[in-house]
């Protein structure tokens, strides 16, 4: 098989899989709580800095996972309690509040780490031979981890007791309260799950991108575009949106350059917002 074709194909799968994980937290919080968390990218940035701190301290890379979950989960619970909870059902206010939070987190990162770029060493160096072509092992690992995270979360949401209660809370909040569901606690947990997923995404991509406090902005935009295109409420929509955004970006970037790739993503997102605002798989 043509090695360029194999590499581009794997790049496409990689872009879709990683974008699906990065967008998952945003989808959870937006789809279930109706909160568009504009600070989602900053939680990805926090996760990435957790990875940097772990390696800087000489700890094994996997230690970044519990650290990012603890930091992003703790931050998520705090933000939900003091910033989001008073603003539920006020979408514009939550938009402004989370935008302010994103600025705060960026400035905090600037104060702590400065504006200079930082790099994280590749935890899994080397390549693996796929269909006669060498491909980075870490990228293949991320494809597998992304599929496991998205698939596992969707399965949990469909099958578990807590997932059932979340679906009940989302579908009929008044009745959910009447049957004794602790909606406040469930909403807090859901928001924190979204920020934890963002942090986890940050840990995953940290060795692949230069780290700096502004890095989150690009990710939140791509994640948002993936949701716009896929539509909210299903794993299929999440993957479809990620496939369109990741696919267009990879393809145009490979044919022209990264700037044109990003331009193409913007054009596709605008077309969808204009012609099909509910996305491909609207709930």
């Amino acid at each position: 098989m043509d090695p360029i074709l194999v590499t581009q194909g794997l790049n496409l799968v990689f872009a879709v899989a990683v974008l699906a994980v990065l967008a998952l937290g945003l989808a959870v919080v937006f789809g279930l709580l109706g909160v568009l968390n504009l600070a989602h990218g900053e939680f990805i940035m926090v996760g990435a800095y957790c990875a940097w701190a772990t390696t800087a301290a000489g700890l094994p890379y996997v230690a970044a996972i519990p650290l990012a979950i603890a930091v992003c989960g703790g931050l998520g619970l705090t933000v939900e309690r003091w910033l989001i909870r008073p603003l539920y059902r006020r979408p514009f206010d939550t938009l402004v509040a989370t935008w302010g939070l994103s600025l705060l987190l960026r400035k905090a990162a600037e104060a702590a780490f400065g504006l200079s770029f930082r790099n994280v060493a590749m935890p899994l160096p080397g390549t693996v031979r796929v269909l006669g072509t060498d491909y980075p092992g870490y990228r293949l690992l991320l494809i597998a981890i992304s599929a496991a995270i998205v698939g596992g979360l969707m399965l949990w949401y469909r099958r578990s007791r807590t997932g059932l209660r979340i679906r009940a809370m989302v579908g009929n909040p008044d009745l959910a309260q009447a049957v004794g569901i602790r909606a406040t606690r469930l909403a807090a947990g859901t928001f924190a799950a979204g920020t934890c997923l963002a942090g986890l995404g940050g840990v995953m991509i940290a060795p692949l991108v230069p780290l700096q406090p502004l890095m989150g902005l690009d990710f939140v935009l791509r994640s948002f575009f993936a949701l716009v295109i896929g539509g909210l409420g299903s794993a299929v929509g999440l993957f479809a949106g990620s496939a369109v955004i990741g696919g267009v970006d990879s393809l145009v970037s490979a044919l022209l350059d990264a700037t044109w790739g990003y331009f193409a993503v913007l054009v596709v997102a605008i077309l969808f917002l204009w012609r099909r605002p509910g996305g491909l798989f609207a709930r």
Partner: protein
Amino acid sequence: MSVPRLDFDDLAGGYGTTEVVHGISGAAAAGQVLCIVGRNGVGKSSLIRMLSGHLPAWRGTVRLEGRAVTDLPPAGRRRLGISYCPQERPVFDDLTVRDNLILMRRDRSLDGFAPFIGRFPVLERRLDQQAGTMSGGEKKILSFARGLAEMTPLVLLDEPSEGVQWENILHMADLIRERRAAGTTFVVVEQNLAFAERIADRYLVLDQGRVVLEGPRSAIDRAALLPRLHV
């Protein structure tokens, strides 16, 4: 004198700046069925929503076995033993019938639903179907079964017979009487007088947000009720 299972005193509340319930008081003892009746728009559902906690009381007190629950949210009241079956959106449309029934059950089993499934075969036939696909009357039956199966000491039912076939209304009346005999208290908002007469121990008749008639069923006959139920 024993403490009533439920009592409410001088309850007032409404929507926006409009007060629709103007200082209503009442009580229901253990093993008693209190039927709240009256024309459309007189405040019956608003009153029962204030008892469930879904509509905040602007003034007054709600007590469950002597304990004030006025400031508790609906989920807090449910944990203390108040079940509520609302008139509007009575089921989780996006969940299956089975999931509606087992939602809060730790073991996720249908144990305890035999009396309902036996009397309402539609529940068993549609167990794996989305509740949103059921008719209005079927949703009421599902909501009724869910509420009664919670086995709480107090059950609030808002128009449980609305859209339900007469045969099934009779089953509902039987089930309420069985649970009443076991000590459960019911507060039932109802417009169907034939159903209310089968279950009520006491009536609370409302008009324009106020109590206009109150007393045991034996003291209030159909002739006294009918003018209060129809325009």
